[in-house]
């Protein structure tokens, strides 16, 4: 019971760290917040491993620590730190509205997963709701932020959300599958960083409103 409480509590903390990633002013700050968030995700994996005696989740925690707490944030910190475009640092909606919309998303996600009848997550529905909500928070970040670097972070948030869903629903899946998903995510982020840097170098902007030459 205590383990379940810890998992659900940490899942709630995941939402708070998401808002920090979305709200951070500089890409380097977002990278640090993302690392922090991934650390919370790692702790959830460890707690889940203990609660459900699912030792494969310990391996997940180790790979997530290496890739998401260290590797990806360091790459982002180094690669994105020098990219600046003050004109792109605004969002379609303000911070207060972002928090309200996020709350609505999380509540809706919780309601939706309330209808899911799976014995594996009977006691972990809050965490499952958070994982789905987290996925849509990432989508919210991509849709509302004008800075393309924030869109990369939005993708990372979505990916963390689906990673938690996987841990809750599919941790028994073969280990190589988790490695495949993690590898895909890392390479997707790297390719996004490479293209964002090219855009900044060639077009001198990070503003998504400037990427509207193609129409019709």
């Amino acid at each position: 019971m205590t383990g379940t409480l810890i998992v659900n509590g940490l899942a709630g903390l995941l939402i708070v760290t998401s808002l920090l990633v979305i709200g951070a002013k500089k890409p380097t700050s977002s990278a640090v917040q993302y690392s922090l968030q991934s650390l919370v995700l790692v702790l959830i994996f460890v707690a889940l491993a203990q609660t459900r005696h699912a030792h494969e989740l310990n391996a997940w925690a180790i790979t997530a620590f290496i890739t998401k707490v260290v590797l990806v944030p360091v790459i982002m910190y180094k690669a994105l730190g020098s990219l600046k475009d003050p004109a792109a640092d605004s969002a379609v909606i303000g911070p207060a509205l972002t928090v309200i919309v996020s709350a609505v998303i999380v509540v809706l996600s919780y309601v939706v997963v309330g209808h899911v009848e799976l014995p594996a997550v009977a006691e972990l529905k809050p965490a499952l709701g958070v994982s789905l909500g987290h996925f849509f928070l990432g989508l919210l970040c991509i849709v509302t932020q004008r800075n393309i670097l924030k869109q990369i972070f939005g993708y990372c948030l979505m990916e963390n959300g689906s990673h938690l869903t996987l841990a809750l629903l599919a941790h028994a899946a073969p280990e190589i599958v988790e490695i495949g998903i993690a590898t895909d995510a890392i390479f997707a982020v790297i390719i996004m960083i490479v293209i964002a840097r090219q855009i900044h170098r060639t077009l001198h902007t990070l503003d998504v409103r400037q990427l509207t030459a193609l129409k019709g």
Binding site: E117, S162, P174, F187, I191, M192, I195, L214
Partner: protein, 538 residues
Amino acid sequence: MTPTQLLLALLLIPFCSGLIAFAMRWLGSGSRQLATLIHLVSISLVLVFSVLVINRVLADGALTALGHWFHIDSLGAIFLALVGGVGFLTGLYSIGYMNHEVRNGEIDVKTLCNYYGFFSLFISTMVLVVIANNVILMWVAVEATTIGSAFLVGLYGQRTSLEASWKYIIICSVGVAFGLYGTVLIFSNASNLPMLSDPELATSWMHLVQHAQLLDPTLTTIAFVFILIGFGTKAGLFPMHTWLPDAYAEAPSPVSALLSSALSNCAFLIIIRYFIIASKTLGPGMPQNLLLAFGIMSIACAALFIIVQRDIKRLLAYSSVENIGIVALAFGIGGPLGIIAGLLHALNNSIAKALAFCGSGNILLKYGTRDMKAVKGVMNVMPASAVFFGIGVLALGGLPPFNVFVSEFLVVSAGIKAGNAWLTIIIMLLLAMVFAGIVRMVTGSLLGDAPENVQKGELSLIKLVPMAIFVVIMLWMGIRMPQPVVTLLENATKIVLNKGDAPLDVSVQTPWQMLSANTSQNVAPKPASEVATTTASH
């Protein structure tokens, strides 16, 4: 060779060739020739191994390898034929096209090595999509195709190509993430069943199909919607298609051909795989209605854009949205005829689309623009390219006797046979609109006087031979379908309909074959039951 050796070779040859091609950039003066050689060897071997695998499937039935990880049946074999065949021909066309770009200083030799590297990796990821049996591995493979091809879309590094590349990777990554949710829901649903409690079995598509009737209907419904949105984004179904016109138009033409012909169909293959599961769990109604809705919306949206389009490659891109819509529609109509028509249309459209994109590439190389206002008199400037391009795009519009006409005819027949008269009329009107848009482009671009600054003269042979081969295949498929294709289509339809070895009540024929069959029936009357079957299939 054992199935495991065959499939591993098919997967690893392009993967390793890709890595070697990347490394060629450090070889100095010889890197261009060596990278090209590696590329040629890679696409040729992929073609050879694809043919070997397809032959084995035709002779022995489905192949399963590496435990439950890989599985290729007749359904997968059709799509493997696309990856191997179109991959080879567009790869061959690439050699001439990219050499031209290097000579003209559009790209440097390092970028060329990267191009060949990513091209092979992209082929490798598509092979993985087709042969994967583990449902999560299928998702991994589809996501990997995005990573493999994003660089190819933005190859030129210009404003528009970078914008297209950004939209492509963001929208497709986000879209495909929905597919992961659908996949996980199916897996966790299945792992509760006693017979699928072993996680390896609960992730095996073959086993999921076997026990699909026991899955929870609510979860399967949610999962199928997620999967349709997720992989539909990659396939280019409306309204998730927004990345597609930009990416297809801005990518180098051989890449546009590969994206349109192989990739969107690979994504649709995954939708078909889940369509089979969902149809068994829920009955065919819900999955069919969803595909029908997405199909009609895609055709209608594309038709509106095609009729007003001024950019040749964007027009072809919207034609891709239209055609994947027709495939979805055919599956939505359902029944043996609908499924056969859908699969055949996926195959036919891919061949014609690859030809049209290669043709648009030749025009782009000669005129330096894709704008229909500037592209005039191609027939006078380079007649062979003009004829091939004209055949490609008119065939896409459904002109007989080419292959696309046959599959569109079958889709319409399936609609009438299913009793959807109004739907069929609407679709035919939309197809007429598309044809009008295509004829406008063909007459405007190919005919008339060429601009004075465009030098007359055909492009090199290597840019024409692949197009000529596409034309031959299109005619062959349009007039008399080869028997191996018919067998694959019939077997794949049985897989989709879960019919086992029971015979289908329709035959796969071109309209000309049907006519000649009817003529011979008139000469020598057949038993009444057989005549009824043939007539129903019309």
